[in-house]
């Protein structure tokens, strides 16, 4: 269990949020132009990092907004939180 600082509502318990996996994977604008391999890259391939990871979270039991979190998966330490569309912080 840990606290997440929703960029809209402030600090809340993790139970109010749901996790959406790795961040900054953009859905291709023209999926039909892609080969099977290219589409599979988007669809299936995730880094699954042990350590600092950029990921998506949704404040599903609060403002329902999606945002990005930089979290160390090995100790749940959250380094920063930023809104969708904002530039990710440099490591």
């Amino acid at each position: 269990m840990f606290l997440i600082n929703c960029p809209f509502c402030g600090e809340r318990d993790q139970s109010e949020f749901s996790s959406g996996g790795e961040a900054h994977i953009v859905r291709p604008k023209q999926p039909t132009e892609l080969s099977d391999d290219e589409w599979a890259e988007f669809l299936f391939m995730r880094k699954n990092i042990k350590g600092v990871q950029f990921e998506r979270w949704n404040h599903s039991h609060g403002c329902r907004k999606w945002f990005n979190v930089v979290r160390d998966t090995s100790n749940d330490k959250i380094h920063s939180v930023y809104k969708m569309g904002e530039k990710p912080p440099v490591k």
């Binding site: 859905r27 999926p31 039909t32 589409w39 669809l43 949704n58 969708m84």
Partner: protein, 645 residues
């Protein structure tokens, strides 16, 4: 007894002054008594501590207390990701300094005397908080310090290890012998030795035993303590009662319960309930001691012969507004939405990006830029979350707003050949002619000046109307339907009958006939996938090499050769029982006895099933093989005549 050679500490002095004899450099070598201890035997230790010397001394006693020295409680440190160092002087594990928002101070950091603790604590806190507090700088504490140390993990004993028991874990009764056996068996990792011997797996989670176990392993294997590592320090630190964890979530509070506005009527009318997600839904309404089978057969027949009524309030409902609402639906459903005219309804199928069926439901166009989407009961929250995800992250340029209205509306669904007469009684002003009010359309109307939305849509294949009304009027509306339908023997039916009726028509239930591995094509629903649309969620996945395989599992109908035989849902399907191992082709997903067709019907997923119509297959059960024939998925009214009956 004290295995150290001497001690100058205050407590030792006081004991001497009180005339208490301390046997320094001695260890207990044996105990005596039956059912309870009555004496112990002790011997002096050799200089190196490897053996005992001198004469045995026997002392009478009532009990024997033991102490293994201090072990820092490093749990908090390691649970927040910290690693450990081994401090050779004290033979203890201590927290390794980490760059994290935490510090360990006091005994949990391996500091056991008060003066050091105060000193270090002030220092560490000053650094940690970036302050400079000098209040305790010159605190002098008078306390006795134990300077003499001696550590022996397994005390020497002349009795062979097998003849006596040196307990390590006092709860799980594992002994030094067990640990040595584990090492002999080839276990090296501390985690493996733990599981082989169960040392440290009792409710104290090794607080009494782990250090000894590690020490014995290190000594026996001839390695250094610090290099062995430790097992994982898991929470909770102390055993908890289940009550502490679950709180008041017991009895009727065990699980959250959702009820429709019509719930009390169902209770009054003896409904048996089924849990659908958190909802309590009427399952069937037994009359006069009917079995479930009897009740469902009666309800199913009534719905097709005259009229049935279902509480459909639990379906998820999402209000969609915005100038891009049509475009949004085009992107989330497999079929096209732009041409749906206002006042009309359309069935939609939603996929995951991997091309697998995710949810389905009817969406209605209320106004130019205003739709009402329905989702499955169980999928409501997830669908809304997924749609918000796409709007906020992939398509922020779309002007679309979503609002959940699941609880705002209650829905009574009236079906059957007499449903039109019943609706006409309730809404005499409403023109129910097919020209004015065709299948897949809706009308806004009023009942006693209260807004109602009547939709002509059908999940049973019968002529059918769904009335939506604000939930505070849900129960009253339902009662009105029941009394208007009385002369037509309107029969309330539950989810079981609903499932049976839709199976007769071959309509799928997402989550029952699908399991996250079925594409629209697997379900023989290619008709609902638009060929023209450039893109929608999951489209690209529909022609991956795996999704276009001919031998995927596909939805088919099954008819038993004996029409009375009802298949078991989940039963495996094979074509040949002689070749071993038997090749599994698929399984039964839905199975019922249809009172309207007077035979057993089933839906199943079967490898390459699409092209197997008419083929004989076998369902091997415990005591017999059931012979079945692959059929169409639609068992009743293929021409949809009943919709306009």
């Amino acid at each position: 007894m004290d295995l150290r050679k001497n001690s100058q500490s205050e407590i030792a002095k006081q004991a001497r002054n009180l005339g208490i004899k301390i046997y320094f450099n001695h260890v207990v070598t044996n105990t005596f008594g039956y059912r309870r201890i009555n004496s112990v035997e002790l011997m002096e230790l050799s200089d190196d501590g490897n053996t005992t010397i001198g004469n045995k001394i026997k002392l009478n006693c009532d009990c024997l207390g033991i102490s293994g020295g201090w072990t820092p409680m490093v749990h908090m440190h390691t649970q927040s990701g910290g690693k450990l160092d081994f401090k050779n002087d004290d033979q203890v594990f201590i927290p390794k300094e980490i760059d994290n928002d935490q510090i360990s101070i006091g005994a949990c950091n391996g500091d056991f005397d008060l003066e050091t603790i105060i000193d270090k604590t002030v220092n560490k806190i000053n650094i940690f908080l970036e302050i400079n507090n000098q209040d305790y700088k010159n605190t002098k504490v008078e306390c006795s310090i134990e300077k003499e140390k001696r550590n022996i993990w397994l005390l020497p004993n002349k009795i062979p290890l097998g003849k006596t028991k040196c307990f390590i874990d006092f709860q799980n009764d594992s002994t030094a012998k067990d640990i040595k056996l584990a090492l002999k068996e080839g276990f090296r990792s501390i985690e493996h030795v733990k599981r082989y011997t169960t040392t440290g797996m009792a409710t104290d989670q090794g607080k009494l035993s782990n250090m000894h176990a590690l020490g014995i392993i290190a000594d026996t294997a001839g390695v250094k303590m610090g290099t062995l590592g430790t097992t994982t320090f898991r929470p909770p630190f102390t055993p908890l009662t289940f009550g502490t964890i679950v709180g008041r979530n017991v009895g009727k509070f065990f699980e959250v319960v959702r009820k429709t506005s019509i719930h009390d009527w169902h209770v009054d009318n003896k409904a048996q309930f089924e849990n659908v997600g958190q909802w309590k839904r009427p399952w069937y309404y037994p009359k006069n001691g009917e079995t479930m089978h009897d009740a469902v057969q009666r309800e199913s027949k009534a719905a097709r012969d005259s009229a049935g009524i279902l509480d459909a309030s639990t379906l998820g409902k999402i209000d969609i507004q915005g100038t891009d609402a049509s475009e949004f639906l085009n992107r989330v459903y497999t079929n096209a939405w732009s041409k749906l005219s206002i006042g009309k309804c359309r069935y939609g199928l939603m996929l995951n990006e991997d091309g697998m069926v995710y949810d389905d439901g009817v969406t209605t166009r209320l106004a130019e830029n205003h739709y009402l989407m329905t989702t499955t009961t169980g999928g409501a929250a997830n669908v809304l979350g997924k749609l918000e995800d796409y709007l906020q992250t992939e398509w922020p340029e779309l002007d679309v707003y979503l609002t959940s209205v699941t609880d705002h509306y209650s829905t009574a669904s009236v079906c059957g050949p007499n449903s039109k007469k019943i609706i006409n009684k309730i809404f005499p002003e409403l023109d129910l002619s097919d020209e004015n009010f065709p299948h897949m359309s809706f009308k806004n109307t009023k009942l006693d000046n209260i807004n109602c939305r009547v939709m002509r849509i059908s999940f049973t294949g019968e002529l059918s109307y769904e009335i939506n009304i604000e939930s505070k009027y849900g129960k009253s509306l339902w009662e009105k339907c029941i009394s208007a339908g009385q002369e037509f023997n309107i029969t309330p039916y539950g989810t079981e009958t609903m499932h049976l009726l839709r199976a007769e028509k071959g309509f799928i239930i997402v989550g029952q006939d699908t399991d996250g591995t079925m594409t629209p094509s697997d379900l023989q629903m290619d008709w609902i996938v638009s060929k023209k649309k450039y893109d929608f969620i999951g489209k690209r996945s529909l022609y991956r090499s795996d999704t276009i395989r001919e031998d995927r599992k596909q939805l088919v109908g099954l008819l038993t050769n004996d029409p009375k035989e009802i298949l078991e849902e989940g039963a495996q399907i094979v074509s040949d029982t002689n070749t071993k191992p038997i090749d599994m082709l698929g399984h039964v997903t839905s199975s019922y006895f249809s009172p309207n067709l007077n035979k057993s019907i089933a839906l199943a997923v079967v490898r390459s099933g699409k092209n197997m119509k008419g083929q004989k297959l076998i369902i091997p059960m415990e005591n017999k093989n059931i012979n079945v024939t692959v059929s169409d998925t639609i068992f009743l009214d293929k021409e949809n005549k009943r919709l306009n009956a």
